[in-house]
């Protein structure tokens, strides 16, 4: 049936699969490459979907919903599971009531992450089953299995995807419709199962171990694991996107494709190994499958030649297999050297409300350098955080010195202060990130009499991941009116006395407020408020440069605004990119008043 074939991303397919499996509650915090799972499922108005404050809260809300008897989905990026790991481990211990499925979207290659973490280890750590789809069809199909497994074995189920699964689109035959399992909604009191006092936790542990044994038995016969027989010279054990690459590189080999990668089917693996002359494991990142095989005493090569760092691709597998002697012939890769071309990294957008404050910090910290000026030692230490504003670390702004994980900026600044550094400390964090995990850091700073300056960049959205709502926007994930958490009273309520709110596009006010906060002997908070230019495209009259007045000093270029370009030795503003009146930050900077509205050029 042609009308049932859809071109879906892995994330869209996961959402549709979960919806058809009868999910009634879905929670998440945005994070690339997982964000579109909740965005897609939130469009179904007959379920409840929320952006939670952070992944830990998302996991806890999901756990509560599962206890209450409804099938629940919680999704996050790989580092999100670090944040949620406490309730995730607890969920494994208590088990579930209705099905609870946890999606972790990993990011091999760190396309949009602070690291390349292999979350398959979490399945082993938490003693829960793990499924890994290898395309959008499986992403859709596996959700039905995941919820059944969760209920049948009384366990949360981890579904692990990667960027290349979540963000690739492939054809999905939508062969189910929504069915909600019949069963009462409500909490059944059971102290031994749900109250993890040590005495109860000790009783749960043997149940968890027993569960793993039963799951391993299930793994032997589940259709999630497939043997595809080809020639018996080479056998490949693989899963996820690596399976697709391996099929392409070794079209004639035999495959054991694992859709369930924890616990592993020992007998099936042994049988497969006995039938092939040479056994290899092709997997992205860590030797997770390979080490499990080796622990079973099955001889398998893999990470001796397949890289454990970076994303795999057919090119990478082909080249490393050739070097290992698995493929004959010389390299098909071109021998010509690639030309050196200017890079095009992501940038803060024209009209970005973060540009002005970063320029001020760069300037006060003596970082921004016009051409031919000698660099000075910076006066500030700027601890940073996760969001679009991390791009402020790039030249020419150079206005960020650390970025570790969500919410870390505040604790890091405080730690440096307590360590005794003499320079002024500024922590920079976005509104969504502050609400995610900055609040507790600020409480620490107030309690322990910190003197740092905290700048909250309030653009009214979660911009980096594609403009999701958060508690500060007053709108829910499903586009409904919600309660708005106001930053200013929140910060004051924690006990900060020196709080100011500044317009993100008023350069004078930004400069004055930063100076005064740096001089203040107490902890100061500056809320820099300005809407994201991508989300609120208020395009006024573009700025233009009066070339008679301009002396090419290049100060405006230090904003790093992509609308300001040097073309044929003249500095110009690209009118199609400039957002105009709502920004005009460059106009406020120009020492020769050469920048103004296009019509008054």
């Amino acid at each position: 049936m042609a009308e049932k074939l859809k071109l879906l991303s892995g994330n869209e397919a996961l959402a549709l699969g979960a919806y058809h499996a009868g999910v009634r509650v879905a929670t998440a915090y945005p994070g690339t490459p997982s964000t579109e799972i909740l965005e897609s499922i939130a469009r179904f108005q007959d379920i409840y979907a929320e952006w939670s404050t952070n992944e830990k809260v998302a996991m806890e809300v999901a756990l509560g919903a599962s206890y209450a008897g409804v099938r629940t989905l919680v999704s996050m990026k790989q580092v999100g599971l670090n944040v949620a790991s406490d309730p995730f481990m607890a969920a494994s211990t208590t088990g579930v009531n209705a099905g609870l499925v946890v999606i972790s979207a990993d990011d091999p290659g760190a396309h949009s992450s602070q690291g390349e973490q292999d979350n398959r280890h979490y399945a082993k750590l938490a003693k829960v089953p793990m499924l890994e789809p290898s395309d959008s069809q499986e992403a859709y199909d596996f959700m039905a299995y995941a919820f059944d497994l969760s209920e049948r074995f009384d366990t949360p189920v981890l579904v692990r995807t990667t960027t290349r699964i979540s963000h690739s689109k492939s054809v999905v035959e939508v062969n189910r419709s929504r069915t909600v399992p019949a069963g009462p909604v409500g909490f059944q009191y059971n102290v031994q199962k749900y109250v993890m006092l040590p005495v109860h936790a000790r009783l749960r542990h043997p149940l968890m171990e027993e569960r793993l044994i039963k799951l391993a038995e299930y793994a032997e016969s589940t259709p999630l694991n497939q043997v595809i027989w080809g020639e018996r010279e080479l056998g490949v054990v693989t899963s996820g996107i690596a399976y697709q690459y391996a099929r392409e590189v070794f079209p004639k080999a035999s495959f054991l494709k694992l859709g369930m990668t924890y616990p592993l089917p020992q007998n099936l693996l042994r049988h497969f190994a006995s039938q092939v002359k040479r056994l290899i494991v092709i997997e992205e990142l860590d030797p997770f499958l390979q080490e499990n095989l080796q622990a079973m005493g099955i001889e398998a090569a893999g990470k001796e030649f397949i890289p454990r760092m970076g994303e795999l691709s057919p090119d990478v597998i082909e080249e490393s297999s050739r070097q290992a002697g698995l493929l004959a012939g010389s390299s098909s890769q071109q021998t010509e050297t690639l030309p050196e071309l200017p890079k095009r990294p992501p940038l803060l957008c024209p009209g970005c409300p973060h540009t002005g404050i970063f320029f001020v910090l760069s300037n006060i910290g003596q970082r921004a350098k016009a051409k031919d000026k000698t660099p000075k030692d910076s006066k500030l230490i700027i601890t940073g955080d996760i969001g679009c504003y991390t791009l402020g670390a790039y030249p020419p702004l150079l206005a960020m010195d650390t970025c570790a994980c969500m919410g870390a900026s505040i604790g890091q600044a405080l730690g440096m202060e307590k360590a005794g550094v003499s320079k002024k400390l500024v922590a920079v964090i976005g509104d969504s990130t502050f609400l995610h995990s900055g609040i507790t850091g600020l409480v620490d700073g107030v309690y322990n009499r910190g003197q740092i300056t905290l700048i909250i960049l309030d653009n009214g959205t979660t911009a980096m991941t594609g403009h999701q709502e958060h508690p500060g926007t007053g709108i829910s994930a499903q586009g409904k009116e919600a309660n708005k958490v106001d930053l200013e009273p929140l910060v004051r309520g924690i006990g900060v006395k020196d709080v100011r709110v500044v317009d993100a596009f008023d350069m004078k006010a930004l400069r004055n407020s930063v100076r005064s906060a740096l001089d203040s002997p107490e902890l100061s908070v500056i809320i820099v408020r300005g809407a994201c230019s991508v989300r609120v495209p208020k395009r006024g009259e573009p700025r233009a440069i009066n070339q008679e007045r301009c002396n090419q000093c290049g100060i405006c270029l230090l904003l790093g605004c992509s609308a300001i370009q040097r073309q044929d030795e003249l500095i110009c503003i690209e009118a199609t990119l400039c957002v105009g009146d709502g920004c005009a930050v460059c106009q406020q900077l120009c020492p020769r008043q050469a920048i103004g509205p296009q019509s008054k050029k």
Binding site: L7, S170, L347
Partner: protein, 198 residues
């Protein structure tokens, strides 16, 4: 057609992902298997964007191997040069003759390659290079944002799908108020490439 591997590239914000989505949907509607994958996330903010679209009776990997792309559609010419090595020998490159200088060029830290250098890089792979005045034509059509559909019109002539299926896919993906101008851009692109010389 046994297989068609296509690369779509440009700078973030030019509408590359929409264009490659429409290619994918047109291929499915024409009875093929399709996989496509894009660089998104950090690359959204004006960075270099590359979309891989693979069309065949059965597709395994969504990623195209270097030197195996049949078609390269570039909405910006530096990006055409950047990804040229993915094109097979004798493949076809369709390049919008328009430069968006990266910031490092404006700051004087790097140099934008000359037209001759870009052509030489492409010629190492293939002689079938079309330079198209896409930005110019889109502006003439009255909306610079139709550039992606104009360029899609150009590349559509090298793909074995019926015009009506292309148009249905475009109409399906665009809001009603933007359909007409984008369909016009697509038509204009088809005409432009028919008159273009290598």
């Amino acid at each position: 057609m046994e297989k068609l591997d296509l690369l779509v590239t440009g700078a973030g914000g030019q509408g590359i992902i929409l264009a490659s989505d429409i290619i994918g949907e047109t291929a499915i509607a024409s009875g093929y298997d399709v996989k496509k994958t894009d660089t998104i996330g950090m690359a959204q903010r004006g960075g270099s964007v590359l979309s891989n679209v693979r069309i065949a009776r059965q597709v395994w990997s969504p990623l195209i191997k270097k030197g195996e792309g049949d078609l390269l559609l570039a909405l910006e010419k530096l990006e055409a040069a950047r990804w040229a090595h993915y094109l097979r020998r004798g493949g076809i490159a369709i390049v919008n003759n328009h430069a968006l200088p990266p910031l490092s060029v404006s700051l004087g830290k790097s140099r934008y390659p000359s037209d001759e250098e870009i052509l030489n890089i492409l010629k190492q792979r293939t002689d079938r290079v079309y330079f198209i005045e896409g930005t110019h034509c889109a502006r003439d059509l009255g909306n610079i944002r139709t550039l992606n559909m104009f360029m899609l019109g150009c590349v559509s002539l090298f793909m074995p799908f019926e015009v009506q299926i292309w148009k249905d896919s475009i109409s399906h993906r665009l809001p009603p108020n933007l359909r007409e101008i984008n369909l016009a851009a697509f038509e204009q692109g088809r005409k432009e490439i028919q008159g273009a010389s290598l």
